[in-house]
Amino acid sequence: MAQTVFAPWDDPQQKPLIQFVGVTKRFGDFVAIDDLTQDIYEREFFALLGPSGCGKTTMMRMLAGFEAPTEGSILLSGQDIAGVPPNKRAVNMMFQSYALFPHLTVWDNIAFGLRRSDMPKDAIAARVEEMLKLTRLSKFGRRKPHQISGGQRQRVALARSLAKAPKLLLLDEPLGALDKKLRQDTQFELMDIQETTGTTFVIVTHDQEEAMTVASRVAVMDEGRIIQVATPEKIYEAPNSVYVADFIGDVNILEGTAKANGPESYAIDWGGAEPATATSARPFSDGQKAHLAIRPEKIAISAERPADAANAVQGKVLDIAYLGNLSTYHVELPTGQVIKAQSANTRRVSRRAYTWEDPVWLSWSATAGVLLES
């Protein structure tokens, strides 16, 4: 039996949970969100990724109801939510600072939202216990927020925002305050919880690794616009612009002019000894300016020129960044350009084949890079 892939955005029958329709938000002269239209589907884990000041937090605050769009409308299940105050929305938010009430115990923090509804007392107690169990906090119910660790506080914030079973959960940089190891564990925990509860999550982050790990789709934002929305694989393997390619992960960009040399195949004259060959489904006219983006791990490094490589250039090792499992070689080409190539450290470092100042060959296949318009 073939497993159905979760991709409601490809299915025209699916109705989106949230729709941004031509939303613009201005703060005085500053345009935070610029005519943005985007759908988010039920059960999605949608990540808004971008540098600080790109408008991702504004988007989230508009969903929560703390900001109102200057133009355009936001629909939740087909209903315009413009006039609905935050306390009347089926949307909850997990704040970056967690915003736990310091005068209340963990238990009371989680019960806070439930007590504002007309839920009976024993139902509230049952729900709080359920949330404590979900976030593995059962032992800490009686403690105050300042008596627990950062990771526990983060889970209390999550439990509190999930307690009311919102249609949509907003997470504002939820893991920003945690150290790396804890962050990685928590990412998987978040994914598990999202899957068990079936809630739609929208997460704001500036950490591309975090976005890639947790999200079903990633929206890369810049200056109030969404540049690209796609699954993490597509964002990484097929970025639609130099900005996205550069923002997500490490990339080498070769700038030059394209010339067709076969079906969906182009030769790029980038100033090297010979033009690079790259395939592209996107058509380029002869002489058009193009950027060839190649990920460091897709470039092989060798002492001799490989016989069957579509592209090969010679250079000398300028620097080696040793990352433990990987090494990144910075190789300087005769043109002065520095290309990064990554290889797995399958051998012990002492037996490394090349070191600083060694002449090496870099090679990559015709399909390794992505050809982008400038």
């Binding site: 929560a64 306390n87 704040f95 915003a99 105050k144 925002s161």
Partner: protein
């Protein structure tokens, strides 16, 4: 050694400026009035054993016999309590407004609160005489606007005392509440709203509990001095205004009955010590919470 010196400083301070004066006042309160200098007996000149045997509690007994005294205490407590509540009701919104004002405005607003201290307290209270008297600015203004036909009698009533106390002690209420509110994280209010609170509910459930320490500190800073207040009731209050500070002054300077005056002071101190202990305990709890 250095530690001992450091610890000794506050204890010496307490000993020299509180315990020793208190012991002297307490001793005087146990003495009898006399036509002498100082106007009480016995003194150390009579010898130690005569001094000890000459002391008794008859002044304290006297305080319970004349209902002037306990009425003055009750009236003082009542005036101090009502003034504290009114000061809180006036001061809290002001502190809230200051804490929510744009960052660049806050130092100016703070300055405006502190500015009255640059003028003598006595002059400021006298100024209220000019405002509140029958021919004063307030009455002239109200007559001019046509709200009233005959001037109101405010000066020399308890109303004037309330106005004076609230005016004088308002900064002591505003500053601790402002300090508490300024530290309050705005996202806590947003979180409360996000979880289903209206703005009003968020205020009662989050803002008030989190500024509780400021409220408690402010109330004590107003209540304690207001209870023993002498200048305001004697300048603004009338013959009907009964406050223990005024009684104390009368006993001491008009009657020259130092022992009874001292007994009044000792009782006043005991009444104050209870709220002070409560205040201390509150501070301690706050410190523990922050650890």
């Amino acid at each position: 050694m250095r530690r001992a010196v450091l610890i000794a400083v506050p204890y010496l301070w307490l000993l020299a400026l509180f315990l020793v004066p208190f012991a002297i006042v307490f001793k005087v309160s146990l003495s009898d009035t006399a036509l002498a200098i100082p106007p009480y007996t016995p003194t150390l000149k009579d010898g130690f054993s005569a001094l000890i045997s000459g002391l008794d509690f008859e002044n304290f007994v006297f305080l319970t016999q004349d209902d002037l005294y306990w009425k003055a205490y009750v009236s003082s407590l009542q005036i101090a309590f009502v003034s504290t509540i009114v000061t809180l009701l006036v001061g809290y919104p002001m502190a809230y407004g200051m804490a929510r004002a744009p960052e660049e405005w806050r130092p100016t607003l703070m300055m405006l609160v502190i500015l009255p201290f640059w003028t003598s307290f006595l002059i400021r209270v006298y100024a209220w005489v000019g405002i509140l008297s029958t021919e004063g600015f307030l009455n002239q203004f109200l007559l001019w606007t046509g709200i009233i036909d005959t001037p109101l009698t405010i000066l020399n009533t308890n109303w004037a005392v309330y106005i004076g106390i609230v005016y004088t002690y308002l900064p002591f209420m505003i500053l601790p509440i402002y300090a508490a509110l300024e530290r309050l994280d705005e996202s806590l209010i947003e979180a409360a709203e996000d979880l289903g609170c209206s703005r009003m509910q968020a205020f009662w459930l989050v803002t008030i509990p989190l500024s509780r320490n400021g409220i408690v500190a402010g109330c004590f800073l107003v209540f304690i001095p207001a209870l023993g207040e002498f200048v305001i009731p004697s300048l603004l209050g009338g013959s009907g205004t009964l406050m223990i500070g005024k009684v104390l002054f009368e006993e001491f300077f008009a009657n020259r009955d130092w022992p009874v005056a001292s007994a009044v002071a000792v009782i006043l101190l005991l009444i104050l010590i209870i709220p002070i202990i409560l205040f201390q305990r509150n501070e301690q709890r706050q410190q523990e919470a922050e650890q």
